[in-house]
Amino acid sequence: MANCQASPANNVNLAVEIAGLRMKNPMLTASGTFGFGEEFADFIDLEKLGGFIVKGTTLEPREGNPYPRMAETPSGMLNAVGLQNKGVDHFISDIYPRLKGLDTNVLVNVSGAKIEDYVAVAEKLAQLDGIPAIEVNISCPNVKKGGMAFGTTTDGAEAVTSAIRKAWPKTLIVKLSPNVTSIADIAKAVEGAGADSVSLINTLMGMAVDVERRRPCLSTVTGGLSGAAVRPVAVRMVWQASKAVNIPVIGLGGISSGRDAIEFMLAGARAVQIGTANFIDPQVTVKAIDWMEDWCRRHGVADINEIVGEI
């Protein structure tokens, strides 16, 4: 397998590339869990990350869903935040200037309710020098199709991807919904429509009931499940998707440690994202990077790219 065994004298190479997006290591943070990065600056050196993904940005500002927006569940949590954000124009004028100088990749997650909105956001972000990639959230409900999420059908996923492909010349990552029958079919449709990479999984649809108040815990009744509980589903889907497409896969879903990150890479991910685990340990990302490097040494892996899709 490895041509060159890692030894104490050699450095392990952790750098990976996702279709032109060069990352110093495979570690990204998931959108919606890391704010604009600044929220975590007191705990970690942001420049140690392979990159971070800014929370879901829409064309117009959104207030999001009513409170309550979260419920703790066994080894996880449900959220129904509803994409609260101040819109792409605010991101460009107020946030981007603070982030563009950082020595790490700053990616923007793009969300929308109709295809034209996604495209408009992509066009605006394409004017900026410092954003090397966008991640398109296709778990959003398509208001023109009765609120069914774009990413639940191959047609919907394909339509959004090909429209944005025309507007975004740099690395295009499409974030897949796991609430589908065949993740491989969705991944293939998105690859066929021109995506450079797919990231998965987004949250699983779930629900919780407050038995004392005798009502749903979330204002929206259902919400997205994340955290360690979803990890086996995410690993399975990463494995299935990576077997189905040639484009690189970014894995996320319950990653809480370096061990978990390696699991996802062995299953087929070339890069990973940590999301919910940041809430429990704001330093989890840098600890995971160090653990992964140590794992490579222990296993005689000189270049972490060797292990991608080993399973």
Partner: protein
């Protein structure tokens, strides 16, 4: 607000104040340096070894002495996480993130203030009362609970300022809701309140009637406590704001409450 930190504190003492409430005394490590705690801020505590808890628990800082680095927390047994914290043995290490959030305002020297707490809501009023007194403000405390045994730290508050009490069953102080206590019949330069939402709304209403500015401390459900996840938002005149960054203390004039 100062830098947020993550550190291990040692539980040097734990005392049950009643069946449902415990007081935890923590010794913080020297690495926290001259950490500044604003009255009203909170910490997020990791609950280890509790299988059904996943996220940290947000707990108000009751008191903090910077010179000795001793922090006091009051915890109410509300669920698995807090039960676990209240049962910890002395000497336990606690993984803590903080201090988080904003603090109550402290009015100018010579001002009067009413600090009203319901149940566990009295917790942040200890540090607030002490800081106010240090800065030449006269704090008056209003403590409310269902029954006498749930009135917390009355003696300790009495060492700082005047204390008025309300209990639902009349076993201590005035019988009835805290918001109906006679001490609310006068103007204060600032009213600060923390406790169940209906109690705070009642206090805020009385404050408004007397032309007193009022600040409340919200207990919205939080996932991260760091301002990243946007779960803990409260609707305000400026849109949905985060109870963990723009709060937990809010001026009632900003909120959309009907008071």
């Amino acid at each position: 607000m100062g830098k947020k930190q993550i550190f291990n504190a040692t539980l040097t003492a734990i005392r049950a104040l009643s069946e449902r409430y415990s007081m935890l005394t923590l010794s913080l490590p020297a690495t926290v340096g001259d950490m500044e705690v604003l009255p009203g801020q909170f910490v997020e505590i990791r609950v280890a070894d509790s299988p059904s808890t996943y996220l940290r628990r947000p707990i108000s800082i009751c008191d903090y002495d910077a010179a000795s680095r001793v922090m006091t927390l009051l915890i109410r047994r509300a669920g698995e996480g807090t039960e676990h914290l209240c049962d910890l043995p002395e000497g336990s290490a606690l993984d803590i993130v903080g201090p988080l959030g904003n603090g109550f305002s402290i009015p100018a020297p010579g001002s009067t203030a009413l600090l009203a707490g319901g149940g566990i809501g009295v917790a942040p009023l200890m540090l607030l009362g002490k800081k106010m007194k240090q800065q030449g403000v006269t704090p008056c405390f209003l403590l409310g609970a269902r029954t006498a045994s749930e009135i917390l730290l009355a003696k300790e508050f009495a060492a700082i300022g005047e204390v008025a009490i309300s209990t639902d069953d009349g076993t201590a102080g005035e019988k009835g809701y805290a918001a109906d206590n006679s001490v609310l019949g006068r103007h204060y330069d600032l009213v600060c309140t923390c406790g169940p939402k209906p109690m705070m709304a009642g206090i805020a209403h009385k404050a408004r009637a007397n032309g007193s500015p009022c600040e409340v401390s919200l207990e919205n459900l939080m996932a991260c406590g760091l301002g990243a996840c946007l779960c803990c938002v409260e609707p305000t005149l400026k849109g949905n704001l985060r109870a963990c960054v723009e709060g937990p203390v809010f001026d009632t004039g900003m909120l959309l409450w009907e008071i």
